[in-house]
């Protein structure tokens, strides 16, 4: 029975394959570091965070992917995964601001249910040209990594987010009154 939050939260499974962490990432919204698995309000994540990649070798470059595997809703994730942000060539010891933004940051705006928003970090072997995907929905992080030979992820974290005033739950009218 795993005690890894990424496994328990099914990020490993729904988005990623099991991997061994070999890098660190810190996601900072409004000067506050996000704890893995915590919940944030949409109003707190409107603007892109600063993603720090601590380390020692500035020559190592990283690719950052941010996806929502629970689009449009966790019970019915037909649009899994929705791509929110894609930045490449981020040098170690710096942060996402120093990279190459391929897909701009889109603010999370979950309408139904409680969504997970996952940040994945890949280590690049070379400075590489990554083509901007044609659309954000139905993105597949696994396929993306395979396509660009990024190898397994080196770090990942996620936070939960639901509608601003809560009640991401069922809001449609029930067709049969069973109770």
């Amino acid at each position: 029975m795993s005690r890894d939050p990424l496994v328990v939260g099914r990020v490993v499974g729904d988005v990623l394959d099991p991997f061994i962490r070999s890098a660190f990432l810190r996601v900072i919204y409004n000067n506050r570091e996000v704890t893995n698995g915590s919940e944030l309000k949409p109003s707190a994540v409107v603007h892109q965070p600063r993603v720090d990649i601590p380390g020692r070798d500035m020559r190592t470059l990283y690719t950052l992917v941010m996806v929502d595997p629970d689009a449009p809703s966790p019970t019915n994730p037909t649009k899994r995964e929705h791509l929110h942000w894609l930045v490449t060539d981020i040098p170690e010891t710096t942060n996402s601001g120093f990279g190459n933004e391929i897909v701009g940051y889109e603010s999370p705006r979950p309408t139904a249910g409680i969504h997970r928003f996952v940040f994945v970090l890949f280590r690049q072997e070379v400075r590489q040209i990554i083509d901007k995907p044609g659309w954000r929905q139905n993105f597949n992080t696994r396929d993306f990594a395979a396509l660009y030979n990024l190898g397994p992820p080196v770090a990942a974290m996620y936070f939960n987010c639901q509608r601003e005033n809560g009640c991401g739950g069922r809001r449609y009218i029930r067709l049969t009154g069973s109770k």
Binding site: S2, R3, D4, P5, T35, P74, T75, I114, S178
Partner: protein, 185 residues
């Protein structure tokens, strides 16, 4: 994954219903548990009455653990644990759904309602499982953070102590002002 779950619960339960009459024998419980655990390939254990199963351990993923294909080496122990913890709870509510089934088959309208209710129940179960997983994941993360911070704190305190001692050893060097001539003339 959710289609798999629906396949197990709806179609195989229908088969089960036709094969055996509804009765409260422990055998049915085993079959359901195996369905819930998702053990398609292995035949259900022939004689394993409910009270022989291990006590239900609280797992954050009681229903989903049987479907967890993440760690291949945890398959047997995990599914058993998942089955046993899902068993008592799932067994009771599934039985209620099954008992409603014979009445539902009388009218088409009734059948539809039971179907929807079942789907609703499955969705609710998944939602509950996700909620438990969320809570559990956050708890684990916090435990990790606490352990890490305590460790860092200990190390920093030790470093501080060492530095302080080093400082004290150095201080009694020059305490008084002395006159020296530095002017060239």
């Amino acid at each position: 994954m959710e289609e798999v779950w629906k396949d197990i619960s709806l179609s195989t339960l229908h088969q089960d219903l036709e094969a055996k009459p509804t009765s409260t024998n422990p055998f049915r419980g085993i079959v359901l548990q195996d369905l819930l655990a998702g053990d398609f390939n292995e035949p259900p254990p022939v004689s394993a009455p409910l009270n022989d199963l291990p006590l239900p351990r609280f797992t954050g993923l009681s229903l989903n653990s049987g479907r967890l294909m993440v760690h291949p080496n945890s398959s047997n122990s995990n599914t058993n644990g998942g089955a046993s913890s899902a068993g008592p709870f799932a067994y009771c509510s599934k039985k209620r759904a099954l008992e409603r089934q014979p009445e539902a088959s009388f009218g088409h309208g009734h059948g539809n309602g039971a179907d929807r209710r079942k789907k609703r129940m499955i969705k609710n179960r998944e939602s509950a499982a996700r909620s438990r997983a969320r809570k559990q994941a956050y708890t684990y993360e916090l435990q990790r953070e606490v352990a890490r911070l305590l460790d860092e704190n200990r190390k920093l305190k030790r470093t501080f102590e060492e530095l302080r001692l080093a400082m004290e050893a150095q201080v009694p060097a020059k305490r008084t002002l002395q006159r020296t001539s530095t002017a060239p003339f």
